[in-house]
Symmetry: C2
Subunit: 655 residues, 2 copies
């Protein structure tokens, strides 16, 4: 059964939901139909028309182009669930007719292989994203069914999943393989939850169990003359199993390695299976991979993946701020993983990371206009270097328009339009409802046979006041577990029906458990102390040595050239520099800015005729710094004003 | 006429000269003959045997493989000049027989084109290093003639140059082109100096004048279906003229751009021509390019070229320490350029850079065993990142063995074996002999018709005492101009025949001019104050913000993990930290080490379970640093003990 979703009604997030609904989804529909001037054509809808036989032509776009359309449809499904829109629904229904028309009699669906390489079906799992595309269409089908109750695409995807199940498996005669890009695994779990058909759960388990077993599947494909859609001659180099997280059986993996989006999608599926099957060994692997990812390989913004070479993880504590990758999609995958872990075991560390990635990295991925996106999310930008140093070409100082490879924008859209899935989880045995995120919303669940409704009011990220109203048909005992965010400098204050309440004895794994008989109309106030704080990085993170960052509640801040001039590297602060949070309604649509005092090295005494000098000389550095006011803005809004320098980490002068 | 060369006899440099003579040259000969086990074959000698018709087979190695052999032969020529060695000379004579046998009847010589692509002769200047190889063989011929007086190769190369002159030129029917990799230009100047034949000077001038004129020559080659030896199908992408410094006429160029070795070789030739032709416009271009290269795009080590993508310059002040390229060959090219500028105008800024690149970068390029070489010379190394972060794969933590593309090792060999060319220059009109480098040596020149001999004793880099003895047949008036190194913290002390002498009125452009009637047996003492100094970088160099480096005389120092633990990023010093220089006879064969006190962040209070924390917390960073002793070693010797971390720039805690 699919879990209930909270309906968002929040002063901060509602505007993002609206942006997705009113701008991103329509704009994306135009791009999928090749109707945006000056943008590369997507070919996504056209490919389906050709595969369905209603248009002539050849396949266009990437081998995984179908997934763009699937992700759009998934976002539409989520959006319709909370905001019915007959016109949008009609558009989607027509698209689903087309998709189903493109499906082959045996249930197979993939326009690349149907149009261009029918001979290669299931023959290049390493490179062709064939099951990845299937997974996205399954996720779309489940979302659309959830949003509208319509089964047409869901039924079609069950036929496709049945077909996949007939092709892949451990049984003799079946293909003992898996996809180069994980995604089908978590999608099949969703399909299982939506239909109750255990066949899909088992198929997901097969893919997870098989991965990384020897002899390696991708090596076997390679030995049989692996086809690649990425080279002119169709030839493939030897696959790098670690890039696909297929170098070891998943239960033996201990560190996050390889392509970061693939890793996250796989870990999320592993957590799903650990939960549904009570698989302790798999859960242990998930915990290890979580710890490694989030405590050794994650940026303060919630970004993951340190290198653009393979969009990949590198190794522990290697977190360069300027040559970083930190793809938006990877952090969305991290949120999926966190969400699954919270369903297995409520520990605030998962929600802390989820919130960090959501408020900082994912939001940074999208411009305030909803039409420009970062794929790469740097923590330090020098625009001239992005232009002129090839090692930084991938780091853009401003958000580009929708790309040809449009993975990130539709991923942002589907996440934000399903944000209500991330606010609460329920442990029915323990009769506990966990509030992980503090986002204004309406939520309904069933605990011990009683329908419990929670209306939440929140004022994050600018203020920390949270209120919850309980609606119940009759008094009911259950625990409301409120997350104590790691960014709270002191414990939040709790008041129940206006009375301040001590909850210290009920704190478990970062949640305040309020276990009582609740009555209709009970009011809970949860007051989160919000203040600006200096943050330091682990000494092993060499890139941040001698530097500090600013956080205010869940938000990471940054310095921008627009406020502080350049070079930002010349700016430093004393470790005890006071931070002042001030709401500025004129700035970036209204934000809390953080003000402090800094010092800036000047070029006094530098003739421009040398690059180095003795610092003991009369005009040495000690005297050539000036006091300046500094203003930091939320990282998620950087690059909305100019293409100037930006830096999250600020040099600290010890004193 | 070729200028006289000083004969090196120096406690520091003689051992390098010997290393080149006794180890590098013989070892390199083995590699050129494919006789080194476990090393990639060079094919260089074999290619000549095939081209000469004494062996059957196909061409091996890179398109520029001939140049490796030429550079070896050049080093041999230089070495024989100072250290006759009949066996080596016989070996070289035999090789020259072979080279001449491979020369074509029209004078042409290039084994790649003779063996493999005779149809492509002079048809892919963009990519094929055809004139580059010619230039290196000409340099070899001049050096061998200089070292032995034998003309066989010189005459052969005159025939080749005559052939080139018949092919290239502005005249109708000739090819108005130039090479993708500059080198022929400076070689032809050397050939002119050796032979007095102005045809070679004019041909060099043609190549320099033609470069960057529109329509672009490389574009014309491209439009005619440019062949590339670098792609499987032989097809070429559109040439990047800036990469080859062919984007603008050379006189209009203002910033160092593109492949850094090509740039330096070209600038050196430009300076040669500016001097020989009194070409003011060309000289102005040289000055501009010098200023840009050395004051905006040079590392403190004398390294140039910030990116491995194209082994190229990026832009002003972009000098990352860890993703750096700073190829050994590029700094050798910078030394060539500096040497030529000193011949045009004696200004100590040229010699300062020459010395910086020589003592730090070039020497760092070679291991103490003479058999391992850095091509890339980083200022900051984290070995695990070199291995696991693809953006740093090019940065090696230890010197690898001779590469397949062996450009740097023979370049080091030919530079060190001709080091005597860099010590002095003479301005005959002004009757001045300039001492640029302080290296023990014997030098002889003619001033105003009199033979002047200078014997220099020096103790650099460890001590600053320099002595010069003048030998003269009869008293002669001339000026001895002694460089005042930029690293002197106060003016050097001068004593003539034991008497301290005030020279302050005779300081011009960084040289103390001692203009007097000199007598046989006059003794000059030039006492350079040597001390360890903190150096800071220009505020626009973002990579060095808040950091300082240590210099002791001409030497740049670095911290190594072997002495100071890791991570080195955790180490900081106060700006007023005292530096103590101490000679340690046990360390790295005997060096002055610099000792100071530092602080090191500890991991106290870090659980390993988080990457970030509030720095205001009880166990904050302020309290979690420990005082430690620090020891810095000369940069040129880094990586001779271990594959650990290394850093030139050290974080400074202001206070």
């Amino acid at each position: 059964m699919l879990p209930n979703r909270a309906r968002i009604a929040d002063p901060f997030w509602t505007s993002y939901e609206r942006l997705v609904r009113e701008t991103v989804i329509p704009y994306q529909w135009e791009t999928l139909n090749d109707r945006v001037p000056d943008a590369e054509p997507s070919y996504a809808v056209r490919n389906f028309r050709i595969a369905a036989g209603v248009e002539e032509g050849s396949f266009g776009g990437f081998v995984f182009q179908d997934s763009d359309l699937a992700k759009w449809l998934e976002a539409v499904g989520h959006s319709l669930a909370s905001h019915p829109d007959p016109d949008l629904e009609r558009q989607a229904d027509e698209l689903i007719e087309l998709i189903v028309a493109a499906q082959q009699p045996d249930g197979y669906l993939n326009t690349y292989f149907t149009i261009k390489r029918p001979d290669m079906r299931w023959k290049s799992l390493t490179h062709c994203h064939e099951l990845y595309c299937a997974g996205h269409m399954i996720e779309a089908a489940v979302a659309y069914y959830g949003g509208t109750g319509k089964r047409k695409l869901l039924d079609a995807m069950c036929r496709f999943a049945d077909h996949i199940d007939s092709v892949f498996g451990a049984e003799s005669g079946k293909l003992r393989g898996y996809d180069g890009h994980q995604e089908i695994e978590l999608a099949l779990v969703k399909l299982y939850r939506a239909t109750g058909n255990e066949r899909y759960l088992k198929l997901s388990q097969f893919f997870i169990d098989e991965r990384g077993q020897q002899p390696y599947f991708f090596d076997r494909e390679y030995e049989e003359g692996l086809f690649s859609p990425w080279t002119e001659d169709g030839k493939s180099g030897k696959p790098d199993n670690a890039y696909h997280q297929a170098h070891l059986p998943v239960r033996e993996q201990t560190v996050a390695l390889g392509h970061s989006v693939r890793a996250m999608y796989m870990y999320a599926a592993m957590a799903d299976l650990a939960q549904l099957n009570g698989d302790r060994e798999l859960l242990e692997a998930c915990r290890r991979l979580w710890e490694n990812t989030t405590t050794k390989q994650m940026y303060i913004t919630g970004g993951i993946g340190s290198t653009h070479h393979g969009e990949a993880f590198t190794f522990d504590y290697d977190l360069p701020n300027d040559t970083v990758y930190a793809e938006t999609c990877a952090s969305i995958g991290l949120i999926f993983f966190a969400n699954r872990m919270l369903q297995v075991e409520a520990d605030s560390k998962y929600a802390d990371v989820l919130e960090r990635a959501l408020y900082n990295l994912v939001l940074a991925g999208m411009a305030q206009d909803g039409r420009h996106y970062f794929y790469v999310n740097p923590l330090e930008v020098w625009p001239e270097a992005s232009e002129k140093n090839p090692g930084k070409h991938h780091v853009k100082p401003t958000r580009p328009k929708w790309y040809g490879c449009a993975c990130c924008p539709p991923n942002v859209a589907r996440l934000i339009s399903s944000l209500g899935d991330y606010v609460y989880t329920v442990n029915e045995q323990a009769r506990t409802v966990y509030a992980h995120l503090f986002i204004g919303s309406d939520y309904e669940t069933v605990l011990g046979g009683h329908t419990v409704k929670l209306r939440q009011h929140a004022s994050l990220p600018w203020q920390g006041d949270v209120k919850l109203e309980v609606s119940l048909p009759e008094p009911t005992r259950f625990a409301l577990a409120l997350r104590i965010p790691s960014w709270c400098t002191e414990l939040p204050r709790l008041a129940i029906n206006g009375e301040v309440t001590d909850y210290s004895s009920g704190v478990k794994a970062g949640y305040a458990h309020i276990d009582r008989e609740w009555s209709d109309g009970d009011r809970v106030e949860w007051l989160l102390p919000l203040s600006a704080e200096w943050i330091e990085a682990h000494p092993e993170i060499r890139a941040n040595a001698g530097k500090a960052a600013i956080q205010y509640g869940p938000l990471v801040y940054c310095l921008e050239e627009a406020d502080n001039g350049k070079p930002l590297a010349s700016v430093s602060v004393r470790r005890d520099a006071p931070l002042r949070a001030r709401f500025d309604s004129e700035l970036l649509g209204g934000v809390v800015a953080i003000e402090t005092k800094g010092r800036k090295r000047t070029t006094d005494g530098w003739s421009g005729q040398s690059a180095y000098r003795r610092s003991g000389s009369a005009s040495g550095a000690a005297s050539s710094a000036a006091d300046i006011p500094l203003r930091a803005v939320p990282y998620f809004l950087w690059g909305n004003r100019s293409g100037g320098e930006m830096s999250v980490w600020i040099r600290v002068s010890d004193s």
